[in-house]
Symmetry: C2
Subunit: 334 residues, 2 copies
């Protein structure tokens, strides 16, 4: 039997509100195959579990291997989660409650499964093989539809007492600020998410600030994609520029607080908005953060864009896959 | 030789901007003797070192033991600090730069010394033998002249990359808020410290809000003591009540952020202002925090007053003293 057929792999799954992304990852963090499917959360939890299973099978096929060669599966999911039970406790995005994600995937695929929330697997990916490699103290902030986060302290993902630490999108930056999706006021997410950028642009337009971002768009209520935001930012569109700068500025204030709180070595800024804008966005974050923090908390500290882009979650989830495999082996050996 | 003469002790030192407090602590975290002296930082670092040494000698005498029985010394100091070198890098309160605190105390007393910043030793004390005993994830916030903090993650004090994590007084709560002593705007400290409470009361008075807190005070510019603040708060003095409520409310917002960030099991609120006001202050913090946080981040989480009051720092410093003794022993054994 050839060496290749003996090789072992894990699956990393990025379970999002709109899409499922599964990838086969080898021991060297290299992606060997992948597949995507729509989540269709509205059809219920059991239906989505079937879609995840089928997406995993497609990724295995894409990699040219067999399911036998998979030793573990990791999943990044919206939270809050019960990590020990492997359940989604509740999530506004997916509308499920107490959904036994780990148990259902384990019984469907016969592999050990480990789950963690999307922000945590995102930063775990960047830590394992992206922008934060080699650092022991890392903060991740991911600016997308919402604002996700994750923290690594002494080389371990910070989970806390109820395993729900790292909700960095809900740091309060102004108690009198705009309403956040979580129900509170002035959270980071309410200033910096793509939805907040969008709201700012529409408000600016209503207030007479010029913007061409809606020109030629048939449905004026359609969400503006990050790529289009980046184009208009670089073309100096007044409303878009103002809204993006505000988003990055508030991320900068949050990073200043996080530097004083955690004194990390690297802060990784990622997510769809940052991928589209790159250094133009991160440089604003860096300038604001460094202007608002103690000298010692920024000494040799780097604030950098994420490197793995769309793949940070599957690569971080793959780390959980290897942990699941190891934990199963330990149990069997005991 | 009697058992008592063989018993070993450590010294915990609380080195503050105005006073030095040293205590002899036994293996059961019991205080056997103590002494206090003024810091007199304005006379220079070497002069204060002599005062610390003399304060330690007085504490040893008060305990009725001899210096031979001391196996280690821990010191809580204003920061930022270089923990490995045992130096005070810089501090606004004490006006020293690169002050070799550990080396000078070790050579003066011939005992191993370990230092950490005041917020960290404060929460370490509450963790070792106060309000946070038994918890693995703990946040401490200390409201005094400034606002200090400390974090325990998985049973370890959070130090971070440059060993200066835990500056919780400088979480930004409103980028357009009042100027903070650190130079930035809208830090927690700028809303909640005793100096900020004082500023609020004076501003309120100027704006015609009634207060009797300055009645019968000879020097109107003298700082109002925490005890007097508490008296007038309980007497429903309008300006004092408003200022204290604002202080506690902003501590509450910061606690909400910290619950979402760390998901701790216990949040300990201490410091002079809280000691004087007790549950009246902490209940405001608790209500605001719990109204502004995810359900999961407050599940079974307790927000409580500190228990050790003035002694939290010396008791936490004593933990460092035992560590210093153990590290020296390891080195000698190796």
């Amino acid at each position: 039997m050839g060496k290749k057929k003996n090789a072992k792999y894990v699956i990393g799954v990025d379970l999002g509100g709109t899409k499922i992304y599964a990838a086969v990852i080898d021991r060297n963090d290299k992606m060997r195959g992948s597949a995507r499917k729509k989540t269709k959360a509205e059809n219920g939890f059991e239906s989505t579990v079937k879609r995840v299973v089928s997406c995993i099978e497609n990724a295995v096929e894409d990699a040219g291997i067999t399911l036998d060669q998979i030793v573990g599966i990791g999943v990044g999911s919206p939270g809050p989660l019960d990590l020990k039970e492997g359940k989604i406790i509740e999530t506004p995005n997916l509308k499920w409650k107490d959904a036994p994600l780990k148990a259902r995937l384990e019984s469907a695929l016969g592999k050990p499964v480990k789950i963690d929330n999307d922000g945590n697997v995102g930063i775990l990916g960047e830590y394992a093989c992206g922008a934060a490699m080699g650092a022991k103290h890392v903060i991740g902030l991911f600016v997308g539809t919402g604002v996700g986060g994750g923290v690594i302290v002494n080389g371990e993902v910070l989970h806390g007492f109820n395993e729900n630490a790292g909700e960095l999108g809900h740091i309060i930056l102004d108690p009198n600020g705009p309403k956040c999706g979580c129900g509170n006021n002035g959270c980071l997410e309410a200033f910096s998410s793509r939805l907040s950028i969008e709201r700012e642009i529409r408000t600016a337009k209503e207030n007479g600030i010029k913007t061409a971002v809606f020109d030629g768009v048939a449905d004026k209520n359609e969400l503006i994609r990050s790529k289009r935001l980046a184009e208009f930012f670089h073309a100096d569109d007044p409303a878009v520029k103002m809204a993006i700068e505000k988003s990055a500025t508030y991320i900068g204030f949050a990073v200043a607080s996080l530097l004083n709180i955690f004194n990390p070595q690297i802060v990784v800024i990622g997510g769809g908005v940052v991928e589209a804008l790159g250094e133009s966005y991160v440089s604003i974050v860096r300038n604001v953060a460094e202007a608002n923090v103690f000298a010692i908390a920024k000494r040799n500290v780097r604030i950098v864009p994420a490197q793995l882009k769309d793949d940070s979650a599957v690569l971080g989830a793959a780390v959980l896959g290897w942990q699941a495999a190891q934990e199963k082996k330990k149990k069997n050996d005991a």
